[in-house]
């Protein structure tokens, strides 16, 4: 889809740029507002006036002073990295089975997986909480990490993607004597770079921003995560907007970093002819 490889811009390209830029502004405007509020004292937001001489980085420092934000970031980091890596691993194995291997009850089980996506978490929150409590995991990393390792969504996405990978490669590997595990490791996984990267981004993001579950399964300050920390700034009668926005900006950075790196895999043309046989 590259009609014009030359240096000059076709009118269609200019139009494209214009539309993309306009859309980009729409996407960016709210984010920009958050940035602005985070750089001024709270009074500025309340009065809706932002005099230039009041710009300050103080809010960013305050968030670390007012709550143990550093600790929250550490917890969030540990939990999110563990969940992202392990969840993709587990889902990938299961997706391989659903996509490539035949076994009794395969379609039914998969449908059951899908069905679990259709029950909102509000009604499974308390039952899951009771399970965690009975396991003795309340207020531990186990409670934050383990339940997050099993995702129907990841399994679903990976299965869909695996089904687009041609069987010729599997056949070739089997003829070389490879077992299913080697096929998974050496054929499927390398080819699913972009999807795994996308999944890594979303799992990271969802876990990082998860709020209700960590709230319910942790009790002490040294186990809490970033979203809970941010909610401290929302009070019954008043909100510390400046700190909330500053905290939100800090919270966004790790996820953006992961996305930035994952994006490197979204380069069209890497997969195919170079690897041969496709």
């Amino acid at each position: 889809m590259r009609p014009n490889e030359g240096k000059t811009l076709a009118p269609s390209q200019i139009a494209l740029y214009a539309i993309l830029a306009a859309g980009g502004l729409v996407m960016l405007a709210p984010f920009f507002t958050i940035l602005v509020v985070s750089l001024w004292p709270n009074q500025a937001f309340l009065a809706r006036r932002f005099p230039l001489e009041q710009i300050t980085l103080n809010n960013y420092l305050e968030t670390f002073r007012v709550i143990p934000f550093g600790r929250y970031i550490l917890n969030s980091a540990i939990v999110t990295v563990a969940v992202t890596v392990l969840q993709i691993l587990i889902s990938s194995l299961a997706a391989f089975a659903f996509a490539r291997l035949r076994f009794r009850g395969r379609e039914g089980l998969f449908l059951l997986y899908l069905a679990t996506l259709m029950i909102p978490s509000q009604v499974t929150l308390i039952p899951n909480f009771l399970i965690i409590k009975n396991l003795g995991w309340y207020d531990t990393y186990l409670a934050l990490i383990v339940p997050g390792l099993f995702s129907a969504l990841s399994t679903f996405l990976l299965r869909q993607y695996y089904r687009t990978i041609p069987l010729d490669l599997d056949e070739a590997a089997r003829m070389d004597g490879a077992g299913s595990l080697r096929i998974w490791l050496q054929v499927i996984v390398p080819l699913s770079g972009p999807v795994m990267a996308a999944l890594a981004v979303f799992t990271f993001q969802a876990t990082w921003n998860d709020f209700l579950w960590p709230l319910v399964v942790t009790g002490s300050q040294h186990m809490r995560t970033v979203p809970i920390g941010l909610s401290y700034f929302v009070g019954q009668y008043s909100t510390a907007w400046n700190l909330l926005m500053a905290g939100s900006m800090i919270s966004v950075l790790p996820v953006l970093l992961i996305y930035f790196l994952a994006q490197k895999t979204f380069v069209q043309g890497i997969t195919l002819t170079g690897l041969g046989g496709r």
Binding site: M118, N209, V234, L272
Partner: protein, 312 residues
Amino acid sequence: MSHPSATTAVRRNPFRWRPDQQWEAYLFVLPSLLGFLVFVFLAVGASFGISFLDWGLTGPRGVAGLSNYRELLRDPVFWRVFRNTAFYIFTIVPTQLLLGLLIAVALNQALRGQELLRIIYFLPVVTTIVAGAIVFRLLLSRTGPLADLVSNLGELAGLPLRMPDLLGSTQYSKWSVVLLTLWKNTGFTMVIYLAALQGVPKELYDAAHVDGAGAWQRFRNITVPLISPTTFFLFILQTIGAFQLFAEPFVLTRGGPAQSSMTVVHYIYDNAFRFTRMGKASAIAWFLFLFIFGFTVMQNIMQRRWVHYETE
């Protein structure tokens, strides 16, 4: 080995059903399945049971039988939020799919500033919903910048244009939620489609280009079929997501005014945590489930018509 053209028919799986494959399969699925059993199926099953009980704060207060379900069928609030949710599904899902795909296709080309644009379009997804909603309230306000823009544009065109009260009227409040949700989640669709587009072999486009196919034809005959498994995935997922919409309306309008923008899951949340009626909340969840499940099964069957897999 040449790659089969994208338009050939689906190939049947050459592997016969081998007994040892069963064992392998179960081993592959085992870690996932174990976890699901303990942390997902158990709780989901519990919530099903709870829907037949009168469940208060500390546990069951008695058996309710079908009365939770009967009550919700007669409940005017439930049907109000159900209609709202249906509105959201029909407006958000198709728009989000289309927009996400178009943006992904546009940003998949070798444009200058491509990486930056991809980040910008993804930013809303990572922004915390609270911050985003607050900003949207500012922007969509009757006295806010968007309203000014609309009336200024109207002046230019000579028409007395006025932006409808998106946050304060029961008629238009849902649109503010639609806008916020589209803004926040289109980046998700975009990224998934971007990943899927990587799997479309470049040679196909080049071959088609040589054959004289235009951009639109290439899009329709190559891109769309080859990413149809992803479209299927996104379609199912976004519909489930729209059925379960909660955070955006909750933070933006609190479901108001007068419950005009409230969703079913918001009502479930209220029943579970504000009115401490977990039984009724579970009943609503499972009633909703029937619709979502029915929809998914239907799509699963219909996918043979339009979803193209390389394998069977």
